[in-house]
């Protein structure tokens, strides 16, 4: 097991490096640069800017010094657009926000989704099942960019219960709408996955055996059915968790949460190279890490899996 983990971590480094190189090249291949603007800068001004940010160097050297900055000083460079700030600062401000509402949304989505899915499977083809499936399909077809303005209209304008946006250091009232907007469609997917997998498990032999030896239904479900039923859900949860904690541009956009989801999209549109690469590396590293976590959890849940 330990060897397996070490091996996976060793592969992570070249993977990340490759990610950086490809992103870097793609970014520079896109037309325009950070200082391309409607009012074209005079050549002398542009030259000064390029010199200040090292953009006058050959591409390979920019790449090398960028990677070296990270390896040697954990310095992800300056933002070309938010010039008072470094990439480290932008991530340090935005990521905790994203991590907070992402984790809360994740927990909400998993708890509600699994509960909904399990109930639907147990009371298969009952009104509860139809209701659960109805809710999850409804939630899935309602994208968050539709839901966000609807939430805003309902809770802020009409009912006046919640502030319309901001973060205020993570005050719960500012978190309610972002969490609903972000968790709903994931909850729906988790519910449907859980339901399908639970239905399959419930008809399997070991459940029939458990029932035959006279175990109460609650024990059958919780002890014998839930664990194997969650296996396919688990493989969905790894990437989902990363997706949720690395931010939602829609949530940041509508609720001004100040997370990195919007910074990521903006940095690509603004050609803010260093910010874009910094967040790419963060997302890449988290993805690699949580995929590993999921694989380890797999072995724990399913004794048949050995590494």
């Amino acid at each position: 097991m330990i060897t397996y983990i070490l091996k996976r971590l060793a592969i992570a480094v070249p993977t990340l490096l490759l990610l950086v190189i490809i992103s870097f090249l793609l970014m520079h291949a896109a037309p325009g640069g950070p200082f391309t603007q409607e009012r074209q800068l005079p050549p002398a001004v542009l030259a000064n800017l390029n010199a200040k940010y090292g953009l006058d160097e050959p591409l390979w050297r920019q790449l090398v010094s960028y990677v070296w900055g990270i390896v040697a000083h954990f310095d992800f460079g300056p933002s070309f657009i938010y010039k008072d700030r470094t990439v480290n600062e932008i991530i340090a401000q935005g990521f905790p926000v994203t991590l907070t509402y992402g984790t809360v949304s994740f927990v909400v989505a998993v708890v509600l989704g699994v509960a909904l899915g399990v109930s639907a499977a147990i009371w298969h083809n009952s009104w509860l099942d139809y209701l659960a499936v109805g809710i999850s399909i409804g939630a899935q077809v309602l994208p968050n960019f539709v839901m966000a303005p609807l939430l805003l209209l309902t809770f802020t304008w009409w009912l006046g219960w919640l502030p319309g946006g901001g973060w205020e250091g993570g005050d719960w009232r500012y978190m309610v709408m972002p969490v609903i907007a972000l968790s709903t469609s994931f909850m729906a997917s988790i519910a449907r996955l859980t339901r399908a997998s639970m239905l399959e498990v419930l008809t399997s032999n070991h459940i029939r055996t458990a029932r035959a030896k006279g175990l109460p239904e609650s024990q059958v479900i919780l002890k014998h059915a839930l664990k194997p039923a969650l296996l396919p859900v688990l493989s969905y949860l790894g990437p989902t968790f990363v997706l949720m904690i690395t931010g939602s541009v829609v949530v940041d956009f509508y609720f001004s949460t100040g997370g990195i989801g919007k910074s990521f999209v903006d940095s690509a549109l603004n050609r803010d190279y260093a910010v874009m690469l910094g967040i790419t590396i963060l997302v890449g590293a988290l993805t690699i890490f949580f995929n590993l976590v999921v694989d380890i959890l797999y072995a724990w849940i399913d004794p048949k899996i050995r590494y």
Binding site: Q40, P42, A44, K83
Partner: protein, 548 residues
């Protein structure tokens, strides 16, 4: 001596009120300089306004955008400010002298101006800031502005050809700031309200480096100090007790909230969270009907056009024919665009300079008073003369950047041009790609907009000179260049501006479409919002709330 800058003239009533209040021993917190007679101040003097995006920098010489300038006007103060109508009023400078050859400005600074840390604001601070703006080491994107101001040696300093100290600025003494410019520039004083010319505190910058703009560290000389800045969330400001005119500041807490979605911002305004927001395109008529005392539409100095590519090598052959360019411009029904698409009181445009620009007189542009049917008929005729018709349609491409209203206008224009036998392909692209293609002349026709830097027609007209760095359509006219060059030294440049516009109308290097208005919702108890200032340069120190 230019002595039209007596701010005292604007406020005798309030000074009187203040003295009366003080002598009666009333515990009135403050009384604004410009409170209109009859207005009673509300108890709540907090103001919350909307920002479309995060503030990119709080450094006057680094900032590049309009929203940032708004915050900077509160945190810093330049030589001059603007009043409610956009006229210059004293800022740090009380007035100035101009040398006989009109190239040396001597500004007399007030002796009671202070930084928020209590240090006096001196001429040296302006010298430092202006050199900093031009210094290649600063790498300011707005360095071109000091070049535009024609400050002596600015271009050479920016290019690194001469040392920064050769810039034509000098502190004669603590309260006398002298600027030498290359050639007479009639609108030079008007350019001084721009944020990039604001003074900065050398001591604080040198002690803190790039971090000097953080809340708590930032030292400014404006009416407000920076209390909090959370990137992408909010900016909070409070009155600066060291500001020379702080006794007249009324608004006590200023909050600027970043809301990236215009509709979300409007919802939050309606829920009472904001005092001022912009109205999303198309919603003005409904809001005006529902909230007549809150929805406003006022001119804003920006102009929207379709630029034709006249580049020798890369421009399409057809557009080199002035008849085609004219036909294309004639066939656009601006009234439909303005009344049916934008619906915010925008101005249908047949010329380039915003019509409300101070002193500017429109030439008599023939097609502006034709009916659309007449324009269409003339357009068809011109197309036929140029050799195009039903059997020989003209294929052109229009580039525009992603935006709902750009798209709607483009679709409308595609329909208008179909009538005169033009097959227009619409080419929607991301902002940077659009800009990049435009600046490399990789386009047939491109959407473009320009906003004035100062309230004078040259801010628009300079763009179409052959030596302008922004002339992306590559229109060249020696007559036009000559007019614009001569205008710089003319006693009254406005007739030359009118003549230049006439050349644009005759040569049609672009199709004018509309001129901007600022369409906003403003809480009815807000006053001092500078709505009649064409540049939309408001100052929060002029604002106050009235009790209803």
């Amino acid at each position: 001596m230019t002595n039209l800058f007596d701010r005292g003239m604007h406020m005798p009533i309030n000074k009187l009120l203040l003295t009366t209040a003080l002598s009666l021993g009333l515990a009135l917190p403050t009384l604004a300089a410009n409170v209109a007679p009859g207005d009673t101040l509300a108890d709540n003097q907090d103001y919350t306004y909307w920002l479309l995006d995060a503030i990119k920098s709080m450094d006057p010489q680094i900032n590049t955008d309009v929203e940032g300038s708004g915050v900077l006007r509160s945190l810093f103060e330049g030589l001059y400010d603007e009043d409610q109508e956009g006229a210059l009023v004293p800022g740090v400078a009380l007035n100035h002298d101009l040398s006989d050859d009109k190239t040396v400005y001597t500004f007399h600074l007030r002796d009671n101006a202070k930084w928020s840390n209590g240090d006096p604001v001196t001429a040296q601070d302006f010298v430092y800031a202006w050199k900093r703006l031009a210094d290649p080491a600063t790498a300011s994107e707005y360095a071109w502005y000091i070049e535009l101001m024609q400050v002596k040696n600015a271009a050479a300093v920016i290019a690194g050809e001469v040392p920064v100290d050769d810039l034509g600025v000098k502190a004669v003494d603590d309260h006398t700031f002298e600027v030498t410019i290359d050639a007479p520039l009639p609108y030079f004083p008007k350019m001084l309200t721009h944020a990039s010319t604001f003074p900065v505190n050398q001591k604080v910058i040198e002690a803190n480096g790039d971090k000097w703009t953080e809340a708590g560290t930032l030292v400014g000389n404006g009416a407000y100090i920076l209390k909090e800045h959370v990137l992408g969330e909010k900016v909070v400001m409070e009155p600066n007790p060291n500001y020379w005119d702080n006794e007249h500041t009324i608004i006590q807490t200023v909050t600027a909230l970043t809301i990236n979605d215009q509709n979300a911002a409007l919802t939050r305004y309606l829920a009472g969270e904001l005092d001022r927001v912009e109205i999303p395109a198309g919603q003005y008529p409904r809001l005006k009907a529902e909230y007549p005392d809150q929805a406003v539409s006022v001119p804003q100095s920006c102009s929207y056009i379709y630029m034709f590519n006249l580049d020798e090598a890369k421009g399409p052959e057809a557009l080199k024919d002035v008849r085609v360019r004219k036909a294309l411009s004639y066939a656009i029904d601006r009234d439909i665009i303005v009344d049916k698409i934008l619906q915010g009181g925008q101005w249908p445009s047949y010329n380039w300079t915003h019509h409300s620009t101070e002193g500017f007189q429109l030439p008599d542009i023939d097609y502006s008073h034709w009916t659309q049917a007449e324009r269409d008929a003339k357009a068809l005729e011109l197309m036929k003369e140029a050799g195009y018709g039903p059997d020989k349609p003209l294929d052109l491409t229009l580039n525009y950047n992603t935006s709902e209203s750009h798209k709607k206008i483009a679709i409308a224009v595609q329909q208008f041009w179909k009538k005169i036998g033009v097959n227009l392909t619409l080419n929607n692209m991301e902002w940077k790609v659009h800009t990049d293609k435009m600046q490399n002349q990789d386009f047939d026709i491109a959407r473009y907009a320009w906003c004035g830097d100062y309230n004078e027609a040259s801010t628009y007209l300079d763009l179409f000179t052959s030596y302008s760095g922004h002339n992306n359509g590559k229109f060249f006219s020696p007559d036009y260049d000559k007019l614009m060059k001569d205008s710089k030294t003319a006693e009254d440049p406005n007739p030359m501006y009118t003549a230049a516009e006439q050349i644009l109308a005759d040569q049609m290097p672009m199709a004018p479409i509309y001129q901007y208005t600022k369409v906003e919702m403003i809480k009815p108890d807000m006053r001092g919002m500078s709505l009649n200032n064409l540049m939309q340069n408001w100052y929060i120190k002029d604002m106050y709330r009235v009790a209803n």
